[in-house]
Subunit: 152 residues, 3 copies
């Protein structure tokens, strides 16, 4: 299975990692290709703003995996906060745990090089779990032989 994670929304990231870990646990090979806003999911929790970045790059890099918005009812950050509380209450695994599990199960992380240079994201600002930095052709080569391909 391959997943393109284009979105940087918390709810979509959780959906992607739920599918990825369930598939990997059942023995499938799974790759996630992080592009555009999806790169935020791979960020270390600290700020990654630098002087050389322009306005949009700074706006983008204020976000990190610890503060992803949600795709609906975001309510300026209130939504994700309530969502995390609710996940704890209903005993759903938080994104961090799903990502830890994904790594243990061998899910492959590919960060899109074009998006990285576009948003001024450097290797150092992303988590160490990234397996590869590559472009669209690497994704396509894997997707061609996959049974399930999703764009999230």
């Amino acid at each position: 299975m391959t997943i393109i994670l284009f979105s940087g929304d918390l709810d979509k990231a959780i959906a992607a990692f739920t599918l990825a870990t369930t598939a990997a646990a059942s023995g499938m090979d799974v790759s996630i290709f992080f592009t555009y806003w999806g790169l935020n999911v791979l960020k270390r929790t600290t700020f990654t703003i630098s002087k050389s970045q322009n306005f949009l790059q700074k706006m983008f890099n204020i976000m990190s995996s610890a503060r992803l918005p949600i795709s609906k009812l975001n309510m300026f950050g209130l939504g994700p906060w309530i969502m995390k509380k609710l996940m704890k209450k209903t005993k759903m695994a938080p994104l961090e745990d799903l990502m830890k599990l994904a790594k243990e199960l061998g899910v492959k992380y590919i960060a899109c090089t074009t998006s990285c240079s576009f948003f001024g994201v450097t290797k150092e600002t992303l988590i160490a779990d990234v397996n590869e930095f590559a472009g669209a052709s690497t994704y396509l080569a894997e997707a061609k032989d996959s049974k399930i391909n999703l764009f999230i």
Copy 2:
């Protein structure tokens, strides 16, 4: 064909059901897996708010299949209203008719159990047409053998 309907937007739901009914009419087996905001499409038209729900669950359950927003130009509910009027004028089938047709053609509805418990959605608040309540592994088993898999 399998479709994950993650979105609760009227326009995306109509796209999903147009594809599903067209595929089923041509003899394909079609399953739709309703997760997150997509669960709203399966709601009965009455309110489903109860005292035991927290704030986000209440916000979520105010929505029902009769009042889905649209993904662009929603304009606080004006967009969907104009869209429905326009669908009538251009003789497009409304979502209710597409869903009736889908059932007649044997499209399978699977409601995501994790999303149900997360949003405080009970079996009673959903339409009777739901065939199955199941998790990601059920989806993956079907998707693996499908020719077309989409995440909407």
Copy 3:
């Protein structure tokens, strides 16, 4: 490969055309099915508003390929403007160039007839590169035999 381009966001359109051109360059057959907001990507750059259109159709037709919004940080049109400047700076190909390349590489454009009539979009208001006007069944026939199917 088949892509349903449902979104009319600049960032998603660029992602779709990056994948399409990369795939076509490596020898794959690629079709893009433009539906709903995705139709905006095919618009000529001039206004396409006419008196016979209703309010939502007018709102829809104000948009054209030259002024697509972005899915996050749109900031009332400031986001796309900064994004285009940044693309120039980081030497990323703009959407126009990707679309020119796509045509040279033989990527097939299919415009959804239902969406066209719904939004009051006529053949004349779209670019000449459109290969075909067709419905969901045409898409499904191609998707069934494709190795990669994405809904963007």
